[in-house]
Symmetry: D2
Subunit: 260 residues, 4 copies
Amino acid sequence: MTDSATDSWTVAGRTFTSRLIVGTGKYKDFAQNAAAVEASGAEIVTVAVRRVNISDPTQPVLMDYIDPKKITYLPNTAGCFTADDAIRTLRLAREAGGWDLVKLEVLGEARTLYPDMRETLKACEVLAKEGFKPMVYCVDDPIAAKQLEDAGAVAIMPLGAPIGSGLGIQNKVTIRLIVEGAKVPVLVDAGVGTASEAAVAMELGCDGVLMNTAIAEAQDPVRMARAMRHAVIAGREAYLAGRMKTRKYADPSSPLAGLI
Amino acid sequence: MTDSATDSWTVAGRTFTSRLIVGTGKYKDFAQNAAAVEASGAEIVTVAVRRVNISDPTQPVLMDYIDPKKITYLPNTAGCFTADDAIRTLRLAREAGGWDLVKLEVLGEARTLYPDMRETLKACEVLAKEGFKPMVYCVDDPIAAKQLEDAGAVAIMPLGAPIGSGLGIQNKVTIRLIVEGAKVPVLVDAGVGTASEAAVAMELGCDGVLMNTAIAEAQDPVRMARAMRHAVIAGREAYLAGRMKTRKYADPSSPLAGLI
Amino acid sequence: MTDSATDSWTVAGRTFTSRLIVGTGKYKDFAQNAAAVEASGAEIVTVAVRRVNISDPTQPVLMDYIDPKKITYLPNTAGCFTADDAIRTLRLAREAGGWDLVKLEVLGEARTLYPDMRETLKACEVLAKEGFKPMVYCVDDPIAAKQLEDAGAVAIMPLGAPIGSGLGIQNKVTIRLIVEGAKVPVLVDAGVGTASEAAVAMELGCDGVLMNTAIAEAQDPVRMARAMRHAVIAGREAYLAGRMKTRKYADPSSPLAGLI
Amino acid sequence: MTDSATDSWTVAGRTFTSRLIVGTGKYKDFAQNAAAVEASGAEIVTVAVRRVNISDPTQPVLMDYIDPKKITYLPNTAGCFTADDAIRTLRLAREAGGWDLVKLEVLGEARTLYPDMRETLKACEVLAKEGFKPMVYCVDDPIAAKQLEDAGAVAIMPLGAPIGSGLGIQNKVTIRLIVEGAKVPVLVDAGVGTASEAAVAMELGCDGVLMNTAIAEAQDPVRMARAMRHAVIAGREAYLAGRMKTRKYADPSSPLAGLI
């Protein structure tokens, strides 16, 4: 949107206009994924290193559909349940593609897909020392968020609800506390199910939103991607505009002294 | 938005692309009001006949700022507390400006600004018989909505929360029931305080949203108007796209069978 | 509860200690219904005149199980869709059992079971003139509530959510507005699904709660009836106790100056 | 309540009937605190070791008002910001009073009073090895909850909202996930502001609720204590009773086939 062009955010020295990061799982095929990314306006896609073929030239590759010269690839560690696993996965990603801006997630269990914050913190420290720029999936814990920052996280990515649940932002109070305490960008990662919920995340003051299932599992993923593009802009603009105060009682829009 | 250009709605035979109707109260001046309308993308503005000078050529008039050739004026009966008052007000409006597409509101009391549905129904019947096309502000009552339709309402406009409260859509269940039962357009009128709430209204399947205070009382009304434009598109597109189902448990975006 | 014995409410000149009114539909049998009423502590049960046998001595009757000398019977007009229907039904009830304290409900449609307020108002006026004391099921509309009062309603009974939905109190703002404006008792009728929601109704300042499905369709209706008894007392006591103010930031229970 | 007498819970080998734990901060004086504890029905009170005089016989002591032979004292580490601090505090408490059942909290910062889970886990391990039975205040993180259990926690006490905020249970989804995954009792600690919210905590399947500010800062603390007693029973009974299913559409309590 030209009218929002001056608003941007910066992570690890790179500046982006779009505040929406889109995933690459669960789509029918690469073509649909690419169409959704384009409709979303996203400048970053996140890719599970363990799942997506990023190096075998004999197989179809996502990069034939989503051009890495135009769209920033953010490798992630989906499916890793220990710090060691995640570190190893990202080292391989760096060797294969040269990426250092990465998304770290270390899951605690398959049931809830909640992160294991103890392992996540450990991995974050190691990765930062090795020169990675980790954006980190985490619980909505303002203290853990500060510890991640101290450990070298370049962005804090708290969940808004369990991964893939589509339940919406369950924890507005805590997300706000994290935003108020953070010196690095904060992006809600997981939980958004429809457009208004992406707007809610932005209205809380987040720098961005990451989502996958809400788009990929919509009946019309490309149309939902477009909805999400507008929702993220809407929420961001509303945050910057400064919303009205709520009132307990009604207040007439039209003072009653009339001309008739 | 070119990408949404094919989506439109029709009320009383007139077709509009924008689903956002904007008020004309509480702004600093006509210039700010006009700038907000432009940023909102609205094609309809609503004007309190009792408050706004629509006919005295010696005074500054809103029409010098918001061109009635480009923007549809929707006269409303804000400040009327009886059917007779509202009917008389709209007759004067029709004489002055020729309007027949009007917004009827008959308030029950100054404290809550809730409509008096008994008087509203009475006025709606009379106005429809006189050839008016009344879009009707009402409580969120599915039965009253049907009665208004039978009485000639061309659109049903239930409140989402008290006028000017900014409390958001308090009654999602009832709004949905009204939408499912209505044969004429349904627009949420009153209650929206920030962008995500406009998106919520649209995700419920409403045809549009009317708002005044949320824009006029934002710290930056023009920026909030832009936020609302995106929010209404976002909610509409999300409704059309068909949202994902919610899940109690987490679901991995990235199936765990990996390539590494 | 001896500790709450001094708290009571009065409707149409009759005073009750329990603020919970229980229905008589959907139970397995009369015995289960009676056990639930006892566990609930209710002093009033409501009975659908059209459904329950209140006069044929050859059939089993509810009164053999719930003693009308101990428990006040409140005949209701469930299943009536016009004012005439409801009026005729209550006249029959008065002839059969002498009741004048009645619950009026005139439904607008089978789909939503929302009341038809136009017919409800009409019936309320007629009944009041005939000496009935109508407690009236209605939409959550503060203006209609005042009109019912003016028409002779002895209690206002707004829905909290559609009948039988168990969705909880959807409209806290409006219920509060009704309570603040009413001179007669206000009871939430319909919408409660579990105990905390009955407490919410009471915390809003209502005089009581009426429920049927939440108890009758619980897996263990008698246990749920007991839960509801405690919930209604809890909400009432909390309302009278005056709740703490909410805080945006945390506040230590224990000032940090210590003895150690 | 005699009707709930058979329901009890056990922590570290001790069995309690009441599921409400009450704090001892912010009261006007010891007498008011004692009256509130009695009205609440609590069998456990928690005491900040750093704040409350538990050993100096020349000063007034809480134990003169709340009899430790009848009420279990649960010493807590409020005001400790490191594992070492908390461990030292509880060692002193054990020397002074012989307590081994303790409540561990290690705060991360004064602003939010969120726990520091890294330090909390460390302290939990040490305390368990020294024979303490730590009930542990923690964030609402199902993975951290399991780690605490593995480290010897005898109860998991996630926050429902920031300490002293009175915002209510903000995180129902996560509390439920913790309850489903835990083998030790789960009690919501912090966040409850009024009675219905205590009932919500219990309806999620928690074993109990701990609160301080909601009672101490009510306008009438003793009356609110009584409200909370009923609310906890109500929520527990409702959980055991098994609530009705919610319905999208209304459902008549009274089937329409009538006798009249």
